[in-house]
Structures are given as C-alpha cells and as structure tokens.
C-alpha cells in the first residue's frame, strides 16, 4: 500500500514536471530564435544548451516513471535497457549532427530529438515491442540522414535530374499495384523480401525535388502545364490506392509550391476551387470518402462501429482535462491504432492537454525554422526545396492532429517523428536532413565569402 501510494504521488507530481519541461523547452526554443535574430550569439547558445538539458531531463524522468510502474523484474530490465539505449541515442544524435552537419541549426535538431523522445516514451508505455522497433528505425533514419551531406557533395547540381525524380516517382508509386498489400483499407504498401514500406513516403521527396526543379523556371503559364498534369496523376494514383491523407498532402504541397513559384493568387485559389469540386465528386463516387465525412460530422450516431475510433480518441483527450492522467495512468490502449494515427490522443491523455499544446508549438517551431531556411537561400531551387520539405511536415501534422481532435475529417496519416512506423519516421528524419543540409550549405558559403 505504501509503495503504491508513493508511486501514485510521484506520477501525480511528474505531470507538473513534464509540463514544466515542455514549457521551458518551447520557451527556450522561441527565445533562441529571437536571440539569433538580434545576433546575440552567447544568449542563443545558452538557450540551445538549455533545450538539450531539458530533453535529457524529459528522457530520464519519463523512463523513471515507466520503471516505477513496472510489474516485475523482467519488465523493469526491459525498460531500463531501452531507456539506456535511448539516452545514448539522444546524446549521440546531439553530437553526430553537430559534427556531420557543419553550421546546421541546433534548434531544429533539438525539436526533432524532443519529439522522437516523446515517441519513445509513449510507445514504451503503450506497447513496449513497438518502442523497441521504433528506436531501431530512429537509428536507421539518423544513419541514412547523416549521409545526406556526402551525397550532396558528390552530386552538386541536383536540379539537373528532373526527369529522374519524375520517372522513379512514378515507378515507386505504381509498385503497390504489383507487389502491394492492403492495410487499414488502403492499398499503399509494398513488401519486398519481408521488408514492407509505404512508397508514397519516399516518393514525397522525389515529388518535392521534381516540383522544385520544374517550377523554378516559371515564366509563363505553359511552364506549369506539365508539373500540374504530373502532380494530378500522382494524386489520382494515391486516391485510387485509398490513401486520402497522402493525396491531400501531395495536393497541398503542389498548390503551395505552385503559388510560391508563380506568386499568383489565381492559381492558388483556382487550385483550391478545383480541389473542392474534385472532393465533391469524390464524395459522391467513393463510399469511404463519404464515411469519413459522415463520421466527422456526427461520430456519436454510430459510436460502436464507424465512429468508434474518433469517439474513443475524444474520450482520451477529454476525460482528464488540462493536466492529464499522469504517465501510465490513462486508458489510451482502448483507442484503436493508438500507436500510429492516434498517438497524439494518447499524449494528451497521459501528459495532459497543456503538454499537447506544447507539442503543437514544437511542430510550429520546426515549421518556423524550416521557413527561415527557405528564406535565406539565394537560388530558387533550394528555396522551393526547403519550403516544400517544411510544407510536408506542416501539412501532415495539421491533418493528423486536426483529425484526432475532430477539427477536420480524419485522414489516416502519421504524426511526424512520434507515430510508430518505419517509412514515416525515416521520411520525417530525412526531411530535416535536407533542410539542415541547405542551412549548412549557406552558412558555409556565407562564411567562405567573408
């Protein structure tokens, strides 16, 4: 009884500490941006190191709470092991990114590491097996990402390979029709040698590379005909594969890059208008689109069938209020696919909704830094590439968080960095890699020039 009570009190208090950690992390992050603009390098560096301290604190506290709650020795050891590997991973990330990406943006790295650590803690809490494979994916993603500077060094002029991006994009995107399997009603996975992944996650990169290449040369309307037709084709394929979230991300990415290169409201709003018409048609044609919308409008009507997911998510978010139930004290396991699509609900349930708001602000910080990188480029190609990469994160985050809190209809996409899932994790890390490379490239150039 006494031990239980002490654990209970620790968990109750930990909620406030977690909130303090995320608050300080977010605050130092935005403060760092401010100091950087004022060229106060000392204060900037200080904030960056504070952020790192809070990441390590978060990690240690999270795993201590999980260990306190463990039922037996075996579980305790498993958690301790993962916690140690995680700690090494976090510190390793901080050091290696610093060494490999010269002059990169530490605030961006910190934000990514913070989110990955949240992913690790909440997955360990929900399904320990997924946490173990997740950390392998994190490591894998980081390794691949650390090679980006090398690749860019070998192939210096990326804008020349427009046709390569386009063709390989098509091949990959169409591959699920040949070796695909169906998962959660979407046919957008392929399986090669026991290793399955979602091609649309990889094609995302090819897509922004292709768009940045083709749209950078905009002079007149005929320059955008081909990219538009190709993008339309991609989106159509995704809709046919029933990957509505993917289709939406591709479409909005196209629209925003189109707007950036043409600076034309006509295209932007025309595109939105066209999309509305297209969605009306999709609504009439496809029953699964209709179901999504109906469930969004009134999930309570069919609460035990179609509305089950979203209502369970709302119960998780709503039951414990601002401060949450405390880590390990919630019932998020009742939410379907909680480790992937609904992971944000689990975070809100156990860490509290104020913490959830903090997570949204960290994503916004990532978007802000990405946009700042796009602003500093003096070549249109890199500018569009950076904006496109940032856009992928922004749209995906908005779609899934908006979906699980029932702000917009649910589209099954993952929450970048946090959700369980190999393709998504690796893709999100690579997006940051591309942004950081561009940042690093311009910093070095600026330094060389004087």
């Amino acid at each position: 009884m006494l031990k239980e009570s002490i654990v209970e009190i620790c968990i109750l208090i930990s909620r406030y500490v977690f909130l303090f950690i995320i608050f300080m992390f977010v605050w130092s992050g935005y403060k760092a941006v401010l100091f950087e603009r004022r060229k106060d390098i000392e204060a900037y560096t200080h904030k960056v190191f504070m952020q790192r301290g809070f990441i390590i604190l978060l990690h240690i506290l999270g795993f201590i709470i999980l260990m306190l709650n463990s039922k037996d020795m075996a579980e305790l050891q498993q958690i301790a092991k993962l916690g140690s590997v995680g700690l090494i991973f976090i510190v390793g990330c901080m050091i290696l990114t610093f060494l490999v990406y010269k002059k990169s943006d530490p605030v961006l790295w910190n934000s990514m590491i913070f989110l990955m650590d949240i992913g690790l803690i909440i997955l360990q809490r929900l399904e320990p097996e997924t946490a173990q494979s997740q950390i392998i994916r994190y490591i894998l993603g980081m390794i691949v990402m650390l090679f980006i500077p090398l690749i860019f060094k070998i192939i210096p002029r990326f804008e020349k390979f427009e046709i390569v991006y386009l063709v390989s994009g098509w091949v990959l995107l169409l591959s699920p029709f040949l070796f695909g399997k169906e998962q959660f009603g979407a046919r957008n996975w392929i399986n090669i040698g026991g290793f399955s992944f979602q091609p649309s996650e990889i094609v995302k990169f090819l897509f922004i590379f292709y768009l940045a290449c083709s749209l950078r040369k905009y002079h007149s309307i005929k320059d955008i005909v081909l990219p538009s037709v190709m993008s339309g084709g991609y989106i159509l394929v995704l809709v046919l594969q029933r990957d509505l979230g993917g289709a939406l991300i591709y479409f909005l990415t196209f629209l925003i890059l189109l707007y950036l290169s043409t600076s034309s409201y006509l295209f932007f709003f025309g595109g939105l208008g066209g999309a509305s018409v297209a969605s009306m048609i999709a609504y009439k044609l496809f029953s699964h689109v209709r179901v999504r919308v109906e469930v969004w409008l009134n999930p309570w009507k069919e609460i035990d069938t179609k509305g089950y997911q979203i209502t369970q998510s709302l119960f998780g978010i709503g039951t414990w209020g601002w401060m949450g139930s405390g880590l390990t004290r919630g019932y998020s396991k009742h939410i379907p696919v909680v480790t992937t699509d609904f992971i944000f609900s689990a975070i809100c349930e156990e860490f509290g909704n104020l913490f959830g708001i903090g997570i949204i602000l960290i994503f916004l910080l990532i978007v802000l830094r990405g946009i700042m990188i796009a602003l500093r480029c003096n070549r249109v190609f890199y500018s569009l590439l950076a904006a496109g990469a940032t856009n992928l994160i922004a749209i995906q985050t908005f779609l899934i968080i908006g979906g699980v809190i029932k702000f917009i209809p649910l589209t099954g996409v993952t929450l970048p960095f946090i959700s369980y899932g190999g393709s998504s994790v690796v893709a999100s890390i690579l997006i940051i890699g591309i942004l950081q490379w561009i940042q690093s490239f311009y910093e070095m150039k600026e330094e060389a020039e004087g």
């Binding site: 009884m1 006494l2 009570s5 002490i6 209970e8 009190i9 109750l12 208090i13 925003i256 707007y259 950036l260 290169s261 600076s263 309570w300 609460i303 035990d304 089950y308 209502t311 369970q312 709302l314 119960f315 998780g316 978010i317 709503g318 039951t319 209020g321 601002w322 919630g330 019932y331 009742h334 809100c348 909704n353 959830g356 708001i357 949204i360 602000l361 994503f363 916004l364 978007v367 802000l368 946009i371 796009a374 602003l375 003096n378 249109v380 500018s383 904006a387 856009n391 922004a394 985050t397 908005f398 968080i401 908006g402 809190i405 029932k406 702000f407």
Partner: protein
C-alpha cells in the same frame, strides 16, 4: 527572389494560423464539449474508475443526502435514503445509469485533491472518494409534492423563475430505487403504468386550456387593438365543420380576450385562433421551443406542435384551445410559465447546483443563465395580469391564497385514454414570483378543481419557508 521571399513569409503565416486553429479548437473542445462527451457510456475510463473510487454523494440544496455509497461487508452498495421521492430525478446505477447518476457520472467519480487523498490513503487504506454533487432541489418540497400526487398518475414541476433552479420534480407511478434489482423485470413489463418514465420531463400530454396562454400571446403580439375584440359565446359553435364546445357547454355570453381567458371560453379562443392564423401560432410556438430541443440536461421529450400557415381552420380552432395534435411536457409548460413570471425572460432550468470535493471546497458552481427572451416585457405583464384574474375570479380560484397574489391557468384536457387530464400552471407571488408550479393529474378531471388545490399547497409550502 524578393517576391519569392514575401510569398514564403505569407505561407508561414498560413501555417501559423492553421496550427493556432488546432490549439484554439482543442481548448474549445476541453472547455465546452468535453464535459458532455466524456460521460458517454462508451468511455471505458469511467468503468475503470468505478473500481477504485467511492462514488460521491448526491445531496439536495440543504445538504440532505439523496444517494450515497456504503460498504456492506466487502461490497459497496449504492443507497437512496429518500427512496421513491427522487427515483426519477436522481436515477439509479444498478441497471445501467439514469438521471443525475448518469448525467453526473464523471463528476461523482472525479477525485479532487488527489495528492492529499493519496497521503491519507497511505495510512488508512481507504479508497479514493469521488466528488459530491449538490442539487438545486429541496427534499422536503419534493416529498410534499409526491404526497400531493397521492397515488394518482401525473407529475409536478416546481421551478424558481428568476434563476431556473428546479426545486421539485415528481412523477407517479414511481419505483423504489433501493429495491430495483428485485423488481426490475416487473418494472419493465408494466407498460400500462411505465413507472420508469419521468412523466415530468418525458411525458407528453395535450395541453388543453393552458395552451390559451400561448394563443393569447399570439393575439397580443399580432393585434395592437386586441382590446376591441368581442365575442358572444353561446356555449358551442361550428368552425369549418368542427364543433367546438365550452366546458359543460356553458354559455359565457359577451366576452373579450381577458374574460375569455379567465373563464376559459373555448369558442372565444377558437375565434381568436382563426383571427391570428396558423402562421403566427406556428411562429410563436417555434419560439417557445415546440418541436425543438429544450435547454435541459437530463432526459426529456420534445414537445410537438403541428400547425403551419397552410393548416385548415378546423385544425387551427382545436389547436388554439390546446387540443388537436399539440403535445407538451409538464417541464416545458413550467418553463413557458416561468418566462411569463420572469418578465418574458426564460432562465435555463437546471438541477445541478455545484460539486463539492471530499475536503468541502466548492467546484463547478452553476451560475444562472438566461436562455433568451420568449416574450416582450409588455406581453409578459399582460399575460401575468390575465393569469391573476384566472385565480381571482376565473376557473382557478382553488389556487387562491390569502394575502398573496397568485397567477395561473387551468386546463382540462380531453384525451384518448378516458377522463380529462387536469392541468394547472402558475406562479406566486405575482409581483415577485418565487415559484412556478406545473401540475398534471392524468384523467383527474377538472384542472381548476383537481390540480388547482395541489398548486396552492405547493405555493404555501414554498412561501412559508
């Protein structure tokens, strides 16, 4: 390049706005939607909480316990000390949850001061104590109301018009919540008496003459020269092939709106109904929440009104005197009366006043809220005056109290189930109303004779406190 930078900045603000809207929506969900969302029976958290939390008590406004959880050997049982008095309102937990037990389920299981309770628990080993829910109701008044029904089918609602507080709400036939498990099958089988239904909020009845309040309001709003209305009542008249009769075919002679109201002259009101027309009646009924959701937190039925601008005169005349296809709940009539008593403004009715934590602090105190203006002040005061005449010199004299002015309206509603239903709705004191009462006795006969005295005794009880 500069244009591009400008556009990129614009896009950033677009993203920022999108993320901000997520945060705002999340806050909105937590503040406004989640209280009613999380009490859903499909929320698995509630069932899990019940296992290690002692359900809080439900108490009346003076602290009298209406429901509590007691330890009986190794098991916890829910007890209802006031038994049948609060059967419908408080509800039960044994066979699914109903009433306050269902609506405040989460609050009763919510643990405040968890930290302090955990420390207490370290030594005592007790379970966590859920919060207590305190109602606006008065157990004594509730008991009186139930006794006044005296084993007759029907319902009573007592409300405070200036706040919307529900002071009493009874329905008969009822059941003993402490004997629910034993009697469950029988209670469910009894379709003739349906004792599980809360007639006060879920029962729908033809309003009879109490609907003349609404017809009068329609007349007052539409015709500024309503004082010029005169009609010669002969006890019955045929309107569009439909014979309308006054009670006992009594001829009221020459009447105007006011006297037709206090004498409850059917033929006079049928004429007035045709004058104002279906469109106006429909419009005012819609405003008075017919066919619409009521601002009320527990189970209720929507009242029905079927007249539109295309309705035939023969339907309109019936509706104007409260027959026809119109159906109302006693709660709804209490709300309309309460708006008249309160100068036209309807205060949202409520039963849950606040939540009290284990350590006695008060949470979630409900602040009376206005629902909106149902009648213009002049209309409300004219209706109030006409209702005072009903009690002083009309059909409602049985509700009269010495030294206090009472206003009301009687109704004797014809229905398919036999003898007429007896209705009385009213308030007292007229000048500064402290209580609104709505009474219905099913198949009780004359509203003035049967329901009027009940209302009088309830007014006396409230005013003597």
């Amino acid at each position: 390049m500069n244009q591009l930078r400008k556009d990129i900045k614009k896009i950033f603000w677009l993203y920022a706005a999108m993320f901000l809207s997520l945060i705002i929506y999340l806050i909105k969900f937590l503040v406004f939607d989640s209280p009613s969302v999380i009490i859903n029976a499909y929320n698995p958290r509630l069932g899990a909480l019940e296992k290690n939390i002692v359900r809080g008590e439900i108490r009346d406004s003076k602290g009298i316990v209406l429901a509590r959880t007691k330890k009986n050997g190794d098991t916890w049982i829910r007890e209802y000390p006031k038994g049948r008095d609060f059967a419908h309102v408080v509800g039960f937990v044994q066979k699914g949850k109903t009433g306050i037990e269902a609506y405040s389920n989460f609050k009763l299981l919510e643990v405040s001061n968890k930290m302090m309770q955990t420390v207490d628990r370290m030594f005592s080993g007790d379970n966590f104590q859920g919060n207590h829910v305190i109602l606006t109701m008065d157990a004594e008044l509730q008991h009186t109301a139930r006794e006044l029904l005296n084993g007759r089918k029907g319902a009573i609602v007592v409300m405070e018009p200036s706040t919307g507080k529900i002071l009493a709400m009874v329905s008969y036939p009822d059941f003993d919540p402490n004997q629910l498990n034993q009697n469950w099958e029988q209670l469910n089988k009894d379709e003739e008496n349906s004792p599980l239904i809360n007639r006060a909020a879920q029962g729908l009845y033809p309003p009879g003459s109490i609907f003349k309040m609404i017809t009068s309001a329609a007349v007052l709003e539409k015709n500024e020269d309503w004082k010029d209305f005169h009609y010669n009542c002969t006890g019955e008249e045929i309107f569009d092939e439909n014979l309308i009769r006054c009670f006992n075919s009594k001829a009221h002679g020459e009447v105007d709106l006011e006297s037709a109201f206090y004498l409850s002259c059917n033929t006079g009101f049928a004429t007035l109904g045709i004058d104002v027309g279906g469109e106006q009646l429909g419009r005012i009924s819609e405003r008075l929440l017919f066919n619409r959701n009521l601002p009320y937190e527990l189970e209720y039925s929507k009242s029905q009104f079927r007249i539109t601008k295309d309705s035939k005169d023969r339907e309109i005349v019936e509706t104007a005197i409260g027959q026809g296809k119109t159906l109302v709940s006693p709660l709804h009539m209490a709300m309309i009366t309460s708006a008249i008593a309160n100068g036209g403004i309807l205060m949202q009715p409520y039963i849950i006043d606040h939540v009290e934590t284990n350590y006695g602090s008060i949470k979630d105190k409900k602040i009376p809220q206005s629902y909106g203006i149902l009648f213009e002040p002049e209309i409300a005061s004219q209706l109030s005056k006409m209702m005072t005449d009903v009690v002083n010199k009309g059909t409602g004299t049985q509700a009269k109290i010495s030294n206090v002015s009472v206003s009301g309206k009687t109704g004797t509603a014809q229905n398919a189930s036999g003898k007429d239903h007896a209705w009385f709705v009213g308030f007292a004191p007229t000048e500064k109303p402290k209580a609104v009462v709505a009474v219905i006795i099913e198949n009780g006969g004359s509203g003035g004779q049967v329901a009027g005295p009940i209302a009088r005794q309830l007014f006396q009880k409230v005013l003597n406190q």
